[in-house]
């Protein structure tokens, strides 16, 4: 116990263990990786939390991915992934240990959970960050998109603690699994006075959908009205197949039935964050561009060099979208041969 008392006085960076959809959603591991980098700069420990029932596999995973300490509350009474219950537990733990920074993955769950935790602690929270850094004063600099990603804001929480952020999945790369890593596991029993959840889960059905495929894809080939026809739009699927990517579409394309609703990339559809985005014949309406702010590298193809999409791109190709797509397919086949 003496050892952990010492550790309590040391600064710490916490990552909330959001393990639902573990195999598709690696955001907790990505945050452990970033927390490890940041912790090195401020001399802090990296801690993770795991709440739920029969959750030991995640405890081991988090240690193998960089956590020094894992706080575990494992109880059949909290097996449901309940925002309010998990928020109460998080607040209870944060009040005991006073971490410097608390990071939460910007999943649907995380983006409801973190605001409640921050409000209960009366501290600051930055939403859906695409960058985290430490400044010369040791403050966490949180970079978050605004106005559909057309602007980025750098936000800090100067005085209140912890400094909290939800972080967009896919921004950071996880540290490779280290089987030799060791960490401290602190198992806590469910506090007696934990409030009963006021929101009851009636049912939860896992949806087998392509949404994660598009949202997690490293390459997305996206097409707009500039592709010209359904027949030509289908060429994008061939290109995506060759590249091991997914096909996305803009709203006019979905309205024209060249692609299904589930391929819609936009504010009302999927938000994507590929390493490479190829945008064919897309003008760049804000409701679309808002959903591609996570793309690392954008290649836009459009006959009109003045299109917004062309301005947002890393590489703007002024050419016919379909012709370029066909030429890329041909060239890729050459490159991928042998």
């Amino acid at each position: 116990m003496a050892a952990s008392k010492d550790k309590q006085s040391q600064r710490s960076i916490w990552v909330f263990g959001d393990y639902r959809n573990y195999f598709q959603n690696r955001v907790t591991l990505q945050l452990l990786s970033r927390a490890t980098d940041l912790a090195g700069r401020i001399g802090a420990r990296v801690c993770a939390t795991v709440f739920g029932h029969e959750v030991d596999e995640y405890v081991g995973e988090y240690i193998a991915h960089g956590a020094h300490t894992v706080y575990v509350v494992d109880d059949s009474r909290i097996k449901d992934y309940n925002v309010d219950t998990y928020a109460s537990l998080m607040v209870w733990l944060i009040r005991q240990h006073n971490p410097e920074i608390v990071l939460v993955g910007a999943t649907t769950f995380g983006r409801e959970f973190a605001p409640k935790v921050a409000k209960l602690l009366a501290t600051g929270l930055t939403a859906d960050c695409v960058g985290l850094d430490i400044d010369e004063e040791g403050l966490l600099v949180q970079t978050a998109p605004a106005f559909g990603g057309n602007l980025l804001a750098e936000i800090v929480t100067p005085a209140r603690r912890p400094q909290m952020a939800t972080v967009r999945p896919g921004v950071y790369r996880e540290i490779p699994h280290n089987y030799h890593a060791t960490g401290e596991v602190l198992r806590l029993s469910l506090p007696q006075d934990l409030p009963r959840p006021r929101v009851r889960l009636v049912s939860a059905e896992r949806q087998v959908q392509r949404e994660q495929r598009l949202e997690e894809a490293r390459i997305v080939v996206c097409g707009g009205r500039g592709m010209g026809s359904l027949k030509r739009f289908r060429n994008l699927a061939e290109l995506a197949r060759l590249m091991g990517g997914e096909v996305g579409a803009t709203r006019p394309v979905v309205y024209a039935n060249w692609a299904g609703q589930d391929a819609l990339v936009g504010q009302a559809g999927r938000h994507i964050k590929p390493q490479v985005l190829l945008a064919f014949g897309i003008s760049g309406a804000i409701q679309h561009t808002a959903a591609i702010t996570g793309a690392d590298f954008i290649i836009a193809v459009n006959k009109n060099p003045g299109a917004t999409m062309m301005k947002l791109a890393d590489v703007a190709v002024v050419a016919d979208a379909n012709q370029t797509c066909l030429a890329l397919i041909k060239e890729l086949k050459k490159h991928l041969r042998g």
Binding site: N21, T126, L152, E154, A204, E205, P274, V315
Partner: protein, 272 residues
């Protein structure tokens, strides 16, 4: 039902009046509109009122010009509209905003059954005010709701969360944030809008009217500070390629082949 809808005015622009020289947003040039998700939240309230009867109070916080969206809410069927407008409230983060809205709701409609908010705004996109407002009001709440059904004093909600289609329930009073997937909003007729702007009344309240704690509102009450705002695309090189398609594609592979190969996860040097 006693329904409260929180709505926000956001810039109505498809391209932002962004000044790359000064690095600021020309907000004064941007026309305002009701935030899309707030419009869906209002629609959900209007449909609940149609089924169960009741009274809708629309509340907004913002500059005096935000009264516009409240007039529109009245034209669409809201019964009362209140604007919280005070320079002291300006610049608040979600912590301060949820406090302000919470206090206003308690003051204006203490017997509310349900508070509805949009799931996120199109300008700051935090999606935090709704969840923080239910902590402020100390009521149960659910974010990103797609379908609502009232049965007695229980609200049954459906939503998609991280690949799970969830059905949830809570006892009222409660709070929901509504997505833009369902509750396709109605639009007010031009005549209705005109009438609303001429005859309807939007009540404006200041921080003093609401007995707000000055340390909890606006910039003073905010835990976060914005240090810098910039356009991300300014950092991009924006290479322009033009000419014959064949040449372009070749150049693309020569210059950016590594980048593409990295994403594909395959070596692209199999070229003969």
């Amino acid at each position: 039902m006693n329904l409260v809808v929180c709505i926000k005015q956001v810039p109505a622009v498809s391209e932002l009046p962004w000044d790359p020289q000064s690095g600021t947003l020309k907000r004064n040039l941007a026309e305002g509109m009701m935030n899309p998700a707030c419009r869906h939240a209002l629609e959900a309230a209007l449909r609940l009122k149609e089924i169960h009867g009741g009274y809708i109070t629309a509340i907004s916080m913002g500059p005096p010009a935000a009264a516009e969206i409240l007039h529109e809410a009245l034209a669409l069927g809201a019964d009362k509209a209140v604007l919280l407008s005070d320079p002291k409230l300006a610049g608040g983060d979600t912590l301060a905003t949820s406090y302000t809205l919470g206090r206003a709701i308690y003051k204006l409609c203490p017997d509310f059954d349900l508070v509805l908010c949009g799931c996120h705004t199109s300008d700051s996109e935090t999606a935090q005010v709704g969840p923080q407002l239910c902590v402020e009001l100390d009521i149960p709440g659910v974010a990103n709701v797609e379908h609502l059904q009232v049965r007695g004093r229980t609200l049954i909600m459906r939503r998609l969360a991280d690949n799970f289609l969830e059905t949830l329930e809570m006892d009222l009073p409660g709070l929901v944030t509504v997505t833009t997937k369902q509750y396709l909003p109605r639009y007010a007729s031009l005549g209705g809008l005109n009438e609303a702007f001429q005859s309807s009344e939007v009540r404006t309240l200041t921080a003093a009217d609401l007995d707000l704690d000055g340390d909890k509102v606006g910039v003073a009450g905010s835990a976060t500070r914005i240090r810098a705002v910039y356009a991300p695309q300014a950092a991009k090189e924006n290479v322009v390629l033009k000419g014959a398609v064949k040449d372009i594609v070749e150049e693309l592979f020569n210059r950016f082949g590594d980048r593409i190969a990295g994403a594909i996860g395959k070596d692209l040097n199999g070229r003969q």
